[in-house]
C-alpha cells in the first residue's frame, strides 16, 4: 500500500464521480462542479505517475502538466460560469 496506489485509485474514483455528475446533473452550476471534479481526478493520475519512492525526487514534467491543466480549467470554468450568469439574467428578464 504505497501512496501512489491509494491516491491513484482515489483519482480514478473522483473522475468517475465527476463523470456521473457531468452526465446526470440537472443543475447548470453543479455540472460545472462535476467537470471540475473530473479535472482534479485526471490531475491525480498524472501526479501519481510522477511519484517515486522517497528519497528519490518525483518526475517534474507531469507536475508542470498538471499546473497547466489547473490554469486551463480555471479559464474554462470562468467562461462557463459567465455563460450561466448571462443566461440566468436573460431568462429572468423574460419571466418578468
Amino acid at each position: 500500500m504505497t501512496p501512489d496506489l491509494i491516491y491513484g485509485v482515489t483519482g480514478i474514483a473522483v473522475f468517475a464521480i465527476g463523470l456521473v455528475g457531468a452526465l446526470c446533473a440537472q443543475d447548470r452550476l453543479r455540472r460545472v462542479l462535476a467537470l471540475k471534479l473530473c479535472s482534479v481526478g485526471a490531475g491525480f493520475l498524472l501526479v501519481v505517475g510522477a511519484w517515486r519512492v522517497p528519497p528519490a525526487s518525483p518526475d517534474p514534467v507531469p507536475h508542470a502538466l498538471v499546473i497547466t491543466g489547473i490554469v486551463v480549467m480555471v479559464s474554462a470554468t470562468a467562461v462557463a460560469l459567465a455563460l450561466i450568469r448571462r443566461l440566468q439574467s436573460l431568462e429572468a428578464e423574460d419571466d418578468d
Binding site: S39, D59, T68, R86, E91
Partner: protein, 480 residues
C-alpha cells in the same frame, strides 16, 4: 535572418489576436491582415514541403520526448491551407457582414485565437500539447458561438462548453494513462508503444473524448443548436473548420495507435452510419435553413467516420486519403453553405425553409452559392466531395464491404432529398403575387461564399495533385 514559416504560422495569428484585442477600433483591419499574412506563411511552408516533404522543428532546441517538436507534412499543410483559405474568405465575409460594433470588436480576437489553436493542432506532435490546443480552440469557439448574444445561442454555447470540456478532460485522462505506461508523450513514443491494458484505456479515453468533440452520433447532441444559432461567419468557422481539428487528431492518433480490435473499427463505422441516417432524418425535418445545414454537418461527419472504419485495417492508405479528402471538401463547402445561408437570412429576414418561397426578395446569388455548395456536399461530380465519396465507395467495393456502400448511397439520396426542400423554396415563384426583387443590394459578403463554393467544385478537378500532396511526408503510417 528569416524566421521559418512553420513558426510564423503559429505566431502571426497570435500576435494578430493580441493586436485586435488591444486596438478594438482597428480590429477588423488587423484581423484581416493577420489572416492574410498567415496564409502567406502557409504558402511558404507548402513550398518547403514540396521541396523536402516534411519539416520538423524541436522548439527550444529540446528534442522530444523532453521538448515539444512541431512537424509539418503533406496532410498537415493541406489542413493548414484549407483552414487558412477558408478562414480568409470567411474573414472577408465577416469584414462586411458584421454590422454590430461590439460583435466586430470581439469577433476578430476570438477568431484569431481560434486560428492559432487550429494551426497548433495541425503542427503538434505531442499529446499533452494537443490537449492545451483543443482547449484554446474550445474557449475561442464558445466565445464565437455566443457572439450574437441571443438566449438560444447562449444555451447552445453552454451545452457546447460542457461537451468540449468533458471531451478535453477525457482526453487528458487518456494522456495520464499514456504517461503511466510509457513515460513520454510524443507521437514517436506512441508509435513504439506495446499495446497493453493502460494503453488501451488511454486510447479508449482519448477516442471517446475526440468523438464528443467532433460530435459523432450519438454524441452529436450539442452540435446542431450551437452551429445553427451562431452568427453566419461564426457558424461557417465552427462547422467548416473547428470540427475538423478534432477529426484530424483522431486520424493521427488512430494511425499511430491502431484500434486494437476489428469490432471496434466496425463500431466506429456503425456510429458513422447512425450519424448519416439520423442526421439525414433530422435535416429533412428541420424547419430552419441553418438548422438543416447544421444537421448536414452531423451527416458529413458520419460519412468521414465510415471512411475511417474502412481504413481501420493496416495498410489501407486509400481509405485514409478518402477521409482526408472528405474532410477538406466538407470544410470548404460547409463554410460556403453557412455563409450563403447567412446571406439569405440577412436578405429575406428569416430562414424558415417553408416560407422561403413566400419571400419577395430572392437573393439569387446567395441561392446559387448555396446550390453549388450543396452539389459538393451531396457528392455530385466534379466536386471535391464527389472524389472523396467515390474513393470511399471504390475502396469499400473493392474490399467487399457492401454494407458501407449501401449506407453511403442511402445517405447520398437523403441529402438530395433534404437539399431539394431548400431548392424548391428557391425556385418556386407561384406562391407570390407581388413583384419579386432580386436582392437588397450587392455585398462583399456575397463574393466570399461564392469563391468558396466554386473552389469546392473546381478542386475536384485538381484531386490528383491534392492527393499526391497529402501523401508527402508519409502521414498515413510508418515510412517505407
Amino acid at each position: 535572418m528569416m524566421i521559418d514559416p512553420l513558426t510564423l504560422t503559429l505566431f502571426i495569428p497570435l500576435f494578430g489576436a493580441i493586436g485586435a484585442f488591444v486596438f478594438p477600433r482597428v480590429a477588423s483591419a488587423i484581423g484581416l491582415a493577420s489572416v492574410l499574412v498567415t496564409v502567406g506563411a502557409v504558402a511558404a511552408l507548402a513550398r518547403d514541403i514540396l521541396a523536402q516533404s516534411e519539416v520538423t522543428i524541436a522548439l527550444g532546441g529540446w528534442e522530444p520526448p523532453l521538448g515539444i517538436s512541431l512537424r509539418a507534412d503533406g496532410l498537415s499543410v493541406a489542413m493548414l491551407a484549407m483552414t487558412g483559405v477558408v478562414g480568409l474568405l470567411v474573414s472577408i465575409g465577416a469584414f462586411d457582414s458584421l454590422k454590430d460594433a461590439r460583435q466586430r470588436q470581439y469577433f476578430w480576437p476570438l477568431w484569431l485565437l481560434l486560428l492559432t489553436g487550429m494551426n497548433g493542432v495541425y503542427l503538434s506532435t505531442d499529446i499533452f500539447n494537443l490537449y492545451v490546443m483543443i482547449e484554446v480552440i474550445a474557449l475561442a469557439a464558445v466565445g464565437l458561438t455566443v457572439l450574437s448574444g441571443t438566449k438560444a445561442a447562449l444555451r447552445a454555447g453552454l451545452e457546447y462548453m460542457y461537451a468540449s470540456i468533458l471531451g478535453a478532460l477525457l482526453f487528458l485522462l487518456g494522456v495520464g494513462f499514456v504517461y503511466l505506461q510509457i513515460g513520454r508523450l510524443d507521437f514517436a513514443g506512441l508509435i513504439a508503444a506495446e499495446p497493453t491494458g493502460a494503453m488501451s484505456a488511454a486510447l479508449a479515453l482519448m477516442v471517446v473524448g475526440l468523438l464528443l468533440k467532433t460530435a459523432l452520433f450519438p454524441l452529436h447532441f450539442w452540435l446542431p443548436a450551437a452551429h445553427a444559432n451562431a452568427t453566419a461567419p461564426a457558424s461557417a468557422l465552427l462547422s467548416g473548420l473547428v470540427v475538423k481539428a478534432a477529426l484530424y487528431i483522431f486520424l493521427r492518433l488512430t494511425t499511430y495507435m491502431p484500434l486494437p480490435d476489428e469490432i471496434l473499427v466496425t463500431l466506429v463505422g456503425a456510429l458513422g452510419a447512425g450519424a448519416v441516417l439520423w442526421g439525414g432524418i433530422q435535416a429533412f425535418r428541420a424547419e430552419r435553413l441553418k438548422m438543416l445545414v447544421a444537421w448536414s454537418t452531423v451527416v458529413q461527419i458520419g460519412l468521414i467516420f465510415i471512411a475511417f472504419a474502412r481504413a481501420g485495417q493496416v495498410g489501407l492508405t486509400e481509405s485514409w486519403k478518402a477521409a482526408a479528402l472528405l474532410i477538406l471538401a466538407h470544410g470548404v463547402a460547409k463554410a460556403a453553405m453557412f455563409l450563403s445561408a447567412g446571406r439569405i437570412k440577412d436578405e429575406i429576414g428569416h430562414d424558415i425553409i417553408r416560407d422561403l418561397d413566400r419571400s419577395e426578395i430572392r437573393p439569387t446569388l446567395a441561392q446559387f452559392t448555396f446550390a453549388l455548395a450543396a452539389i459538393s456536399l451531396i457528392g455530385l461530380p466534379p466536386s471535391l466531395g464527389f472524389i472523396g465519396k467515390w474513393s470511399l465507395l471504390e475502396g469499400a467495393m473493392a474490399a467487399g464491404y457492401w454494407h458501407w456502400v449501401v449506407v453511403t448511397m442511402i445517405g447520398t439520396l437523403m441529402s438530395v432529398a433534404y437539399f431539394s426542400r431548400v431548392f424548391a423554396g428557391f425556385l418556386r415563384f407561384d406562391r407570390m403575387r407581388g413583384e419579386i426583387a432580386e436582392h437588397k443590394g450587392w455585398a462583399l459578403a456575397d463574393i466570399a461564399p461564392l469563391t468558396l463554393a466554386i473552389s469546392a467544385i473546381s478542386l475536384g478537378l485538381m484531386a490528383a495533385p491534392i492527393l499526391s500532396f497529402i501523401e508527402l511526408g508519409y502521414p498515413f503510417g510508418a515510412r517505407p
